[in-house]
Amino acid sequence: MRAVFPVLTVVTVLVSLWYLMLIPMNSHQAALEAERAGVVVSPETARDRRDLSGWAVALRNPGPVLGGVWAQERPRLPAPHQVAIELWETTVEKKITSKRSLVFHGWITLSATLLGFAIGTVMGIVLAVGIVYNRAMDLSVMPWAIASQTIPILAIAPMVIVVLNSVGLQGLVPKSIISAYLSFFPVVVGMVTGLRSPDGSQMDLMRTYSAGGGQVFWKLRLPASLPYLFASLKIGIAASLVGAIVGELPTGAVRGLGARMLAGSYYGQTVQIWSALFAAAICAAVLVGIVGLIQRATLRRMGLA
């Protein structure tokens, strides 16, 4: 609770800065609109204003600029309230089956994210168990798994989409494969660390109980790995969402949040880009939040948190 007031202050400052930045970002457009409406602005033509900075235009024409920067049709920087209104209109007021509904596009992205996250997590855990129990696998695979984290694997997203498209796979599955790929390696690395986290005395204790291999796994290694697993899952699910969004780009902007951003950038619909961006941010926050809640509940029952 100690953090609420400082956080609110920081958020307020950020939003105020955003409103302040509207003035230089949008002043040229505002002056142009005022000029077209017949108001005398200085300098008089857009050509003369072109070399001036946004602030200079605003200072020379405080009236028309301050009146015009807040609610333009296609601003360079939309105002927070414009984004909020667009978000409200495209989520609550549109039917969710409508192609203009962000809930519709959000669900397309979210379903690919969740499917990919599930695949990536399961495969990551399986590989981690193999690595922990098989020294040959550990020595062969682990260095590559770690090295692959330094590679921008997101760059292969367009290729995966197009290749799978050419063998007849479309829509949900290719995007999920990218999501799965991105969440896979964090889970492997975290899970290997976690499964190895029981120390020698704990392993010795299991041996004095004459526990079998399966019992050591289920009763010691797996529970001990959970804190590490959850830390990886939080990274993994955020990466999955990014994968799904980027996976939507090369298909030509049809459906999904990534497609909304791409279409918005083609047609200069800045408000649409920003609302898709915030929808994606909200999805990410909710997903990470849900993983965090599960983490807290599980670890509390285990007496670890």
Partner: protein, 278 residues
């Protein structure tokens, strides 16, 4: 089919060799085994692609990729300069500098830190790559917009890590600085910044990958006719997958080298840290 069978045999043989090798405790096994595994994957890939006659548009063989790589080094170099040196690296430098400066400022005020850390952590988890279309619109198609995307992507991970690191010096160490009569800046420079370095390098290592991803993906939203992201998206469109793979090789090499340089610097700068002691 003979080639596929040969691939299976090679796979089984290499695996058997690795199992035998990894039973040994020698140090060199740790380099040889992953190398054998990597080479085996390449050989099996080559044989399976040739044996099953997989079309080029689905998966080119490694030799074809190597051929294309060797044949288009000027193009790949130009793309590398555009995307990595101009876009990713300049953005990386600016983002890191901005985050370090902000972290020192934030660290002076407990109130700011309590406010900014949760917000920073929250933003670091968001799909910031989504700002790419906006920044491309603002800063144009050339490398400036890519650098801007990189700055936005790495700013918060760097900030959060550095702020956490600046808190790392223990009360005892701070008291010692106080007994020496050290000023704020002396204590910062001689104690708290060195103590923060492991955290800073953690942030730097995360940021190397983020910087490359940011610079490449931002090019999907608009770029001049050069750049790794541009080449990947246009070559995919032309189904020239050998070119795409060649770019991926470049990205992988650049990414690992960038990370390796940071890890090497970390070893030099934080030689005192337990994780670096040998």
């Amino acid at each position: 089919m003979a080639l596929v069978a040969l691939a299976l045999v090679i796979w089984a043989g290499a695996w058997w060799l690795n199992v035998r090798l990894s039973a040994r405790k020698d140090g060199w096994v740790r380099t040889v085994v992953p190398a054998i595994f990597g080479v085996t994957i390449l050989v099996v890939w080559e044989l399976v692609v040739r044996g099953l006659e997989v079309p080029l548009v689905i998966l080119p063989a490694p030799t074809l990729i190597a051929e294309r790589f060797a044949g288009s080094i000027p193009i790949l170099w130009a793309d590398f300069v555009q995307t990595f040196l101009k876009g990713a690296l300049s953005g990386f430098v600016m983002g890191v500098a901005a985050a370090l400066a902000t972290a020192v400022l934030v660290d002076r005020s407990d109130f700011l830190r309590r406010g900014l850390l949760p917000v920073g952590n929250f933003i670091a988890a968001l799909p910031i790559i989504g700002t790419a279309p906006i920044l491309v619109m603002w800063f144009g198609f050339d490398w400036q917009s890519k650098a801007a995307v990189v700055v936005v992507m790495i700013f918060f991970p760097m900030l959060v890590n550095t702020v956490a690191g600046l808190r790392e010096a223990s009360a005892m160490q701070r008291d010692l600085m106080a007994t020496y009569g050290a000023s704020y800046w002396q204590a910062l420079w001689k104690l708290r910044i060195p103590a923060a370095m492991p955290f800073v390098f953690n942030g730097l290592k995360i940021s190397t990958t983020l910087a490359l991803i940011g610079a490449i993906v931002a090019e999907f939203f608009g770029s001049p006719t050069v750049g790794m992201g541009f080449r990947i998206s246009t070559s995919v469109g032309q189904l020239a997958l050998d070119m795409v793979w060649a770019e991926i090789v470049v990205a992988a090499l650049a990414g690992s080298a960038f990370y390796g340089i940071m890890a090497g610097l970390e070893r030099i700068v934080t030689f005192w840290h337990p994780a670096q002691r040998r």
